[in-house]
Amino acid sequence: MSAAPETLAIRPPAVWLRFARALWRTATANAAMMTGIALFLAVVIVAIGAPVFAEVDPLDQDLLARLVPPSPGHWLGTDAFGRDIWARIAYGARISLVIGLVAVGIAMVIGSALGILSGYMGGWVDQAISQATNILLAFPSLILGLMVVAFLGPSVPNLIAAISLATIPQFIRVSRAPTIALRERDFIQACRALGFSPLRIMVRHILPNIWPEILVMGSLWLATAIRVEASLAFIGLGVKPPTPTWGGMIREGFEQILNSVYLALFPSLAILVVVLALNMIGDGLRDALDPRLKESKR
């Protein structure tokens, strides 16, 4: 055809760099996402800099100043042991964030990997994974948590293991269905025709197309993960005392909910802030990753 073109619009920068740029572009364009990032960063900063933000030791009991309502001295009040709630929320952010993010992260990675594998490969792989999923699903997550924790003993890693284990089936299911739909699409067929290995097809072609669903699910389950810690704490199997966690604080707050409702409310609000922030980021990310995103017709 005509002479080779002289100018080229394509310089291939590193993938991460391009991703980061896309992220930054969307982030700056998307006020909600910026707010989300700011909120999340704020929580992370409070978690890391807890000693700075809360001068009081979160473990320091003051038995004679228990259940003090929010007041200048303790601006979020004190708990049943007279410990400062704000300090506990700040320090608790560390563990709760780690539990939520890591547990959901692990579940998301393993679950969607298995889901894609199951949906794409079909056949006995699909059968095996589906059966395993059913077995996992057949345990109420509280029971599963109880068993894992009873078996391995309560510790943060074990808790994370328990919560991820309970969450994995959700991600398997959520990623398997769209994978099956995608498998029939011509562009996946084209990949096969081009001799791409199944692994490449799954990672490079299917995964990017089901990201949005996984992301939305991920940001939703984060709240659940932090809450499950609360549920386990509720039956007494959360993180070791006296380490503060939001879930544990909610449990303790529940005991006093009729006298001092703020005990359970403040940590719940903290969870809300994180989940809200992550959802805003998740939605923004989704827009960033979806080139096709059309505006609704109105």
Binding site: L59, D60, L63, L64, F81, L146, A150, G236
Partner: protein, 497 residues
């Protein structure tokens, strides 16, 4: 609730449990079951309603009794015409003998150890029962009151029903079992043939409501008339403010004791144990729990028990505790690995101890486990320290024998609940058990308590009362200060407006 006819009087009781266990008085040991047994069963004798102290023992199914000079042979004369529930006939000496044998049989009873000393039970005639003992027992009558193994069951019913008896208890008490709904309630109805007269209330709805807040709200809204409370001052204060209701705290108390396992380092060192004793601010903890709810422990035996002696303990002094630790070779403090149950009050108490002992450089590394695991683990010596709450029949012997006699050391074949591996007072405890002279017996017990405390086998923390919220509409018919069976007795004279 049931469509109550205007005339029907119903009392609704809320209990802190998800469900009830076996309704067999010789098997179940939990508060929910014991509360139920109070209404269904009688003993040969009983403690006057409203009291918890054995000094108030009075006739129940037995109208009178006498014993031999050596205290080893006891004869009881039974009340005539007492009817078993459900048409199982008259309650006779045969039933009483059967009940006692049943309670003493380790295969059928959780309380067989209480009756170890019995050598024979015999129905002399329809209304006369003879019990013979191998050795002296500090309080024969105490074991025959209507709690635990002292509850009298009807032989024919128990034998006919076999394992089903636990689902449908038959006794002679003022109320009869009617219906059980899993996870919901047990319904009891008045026993029209009750020997003290037909009860004034027609029915008891005994509801299992695990969550305290729900129980409180149900009580507040009038859906419950009696509600099991929480041993917490905040709860006490809030409920006390309710109109038309009152809050009562009852004995027996549960004594919370921190047992220090001497077989574990560094607790083998007396100085370390003393340091621990000095790191616990008993009075502050009582304040935290609530002064209407708790009282500071004054010995290793709960107050009011026969043989209890107020024994001075080491005062709270975290500085001195630190110094002692340093002296023992732990300048940076010590760390104890503690297995702890996840159950509410026990765990709360442990967290307070943890927070307080921290100030003396003692770090409690709590491994919170499920209650079942807790019981298994502490019996395998897995914990450096065991926080245990218990109330026993109010005689010092039981407490001392089970917790501080080396024969009861966990892991041994005769193990009960000696978690501390304490053996300093074996001689005194054993001597007191068979001592017939009351004075001498008291002296031995007193010495035993002092030795245990001086040796810091354990650190008693506080005693907690049971707390109940009662609607003012409920008229118990007696003054309530104690409830030996934990549950509030609802009797023939109890009524509701």
């Amino acid at each position: 609730a049931h469509p109550a006819s205007a005339a029907e009087k119903v009392i609704r009781v809320g209990m802190a449990t998800g469900d009830i266990g076996k309704m067999d008085p010789h098997v179940a040991a939990g508060t929910p079951e014991k509360t139920l047994f109070t209404w269904v069963f009688n003993g040969l004798v009983r403690i006057r309603p409203g009291e918890a102290n054995p000094q108030f023992i009075e006739p129940d199914l037995a109208t009178s009794w006498e014993h031999s000079a050596d205290n080893l042979t006891w004869t009881f004369h039974l009340r005539k015409g007492v009817q078993c529930h459900g048409g199982y006939g008259e309650f006779t000496a045969d039933d009483a003998a059967y009940s006692l044998m049943r309670a003493a049989d380790p295969k059928r009873s959780s309380f067989s150890s209480d009756f170890k000393a019995i050598s024979g039970v015999e129905a002399l005639d329809k209304y006369t029962l003879k019990i013979t003992y191998k050795e002296h027992v500090p309080s024969v009558l105490g074991y025959l009151v209507n709690i635990q193994g002292g509850n009298m069951v009807c032989k024919k019913a128990a034998e006919e029903m076999g394992a089903d008896f636990a689902k449908h208890p038959i006794g002679t008490g003022p109320f009869m079992f009617q219906e059980y709904k899993p996870q919901q309630e047990v319904v009891l109805v008045a026993n029209p043939d009750y020997f003290r007269g037909k009860p004034k209330i027609d029915r008891i709805e005994y509801k299992f409501i695990q969550a305290i807040a729900s129980r409180d709200l149900a009580f507040e809204k009038g859906e419950l008339d009696i509600s099991y409370g929480r041993s917490d001052q905040a709860w006490y204060d809030r409920m006390s403010k309710l109109k038309d209701a009152s809050v009562v705290t009852t004995e027996p108390t549960e004594l919370y004791t921190l047992h220090l396992n001497q077989s574990h380092k560094p607790l083998d060192d007396l100085r370390v144990r003393q340091a621990i004793a000095m790191s616990i601010p008993r009075d502050a903890i009582v304040k935290y729990r609530g002064e209407r709810i708790a009282r500071a422990a004054k010995s290793v035996v709960p107050q009011g028990y026969l043989g209890y002696a107020d024994t001075p303990m080491l005062p709270y002094d975290p500085k001195k505790a630190k110094a002692l630790l340093k002296e023992a070779g732990y300048p940076d403090g010590i760390k104890l690995h503690v297995v702890q149950t996840s159950l509410g009050v026990m765990r709360d108490t442990m967290e307070v101890l943890q927070g307080q002992m921290r100030k003396a450089g003692i770090d409690l590394d709590l491994q919170i486990v499920e209650h079942a695991t807790f019981h298994a683990d502490i019996r395998k010596d897995k914990s450096d320290a065991v926080l245990y709450a218990a109330s026993r029949f109010p005689i010092a012997d039981i407490y001392l024998s089970q917790f501080y006699d080396s024969a009861s050391t966990v892991g041994s074949p005769t193990a009960v609940t000696n978690f501390s591996h304490c053996n300093v007072a074996d001689a005194e405890i054993r001597a007191a058990r068979t001592e017939t002279d009351a004075e001498k017996q008291l002296a031995e017990w007193k010495l035993a308590q002092k030795k245990i405390i001086d040796n810091v086998c354990s650190v008693p923390v506080y005693e907690l009362f049971d707390a109940w919220a009662l609607s003012n509409r409920v008229k118990l018919g007696y003054t309530l200060t104690g409830a030996p069976g934990r549950g509030i007795p609802l009797l023939e004279e109890t009524t509701i407006d």
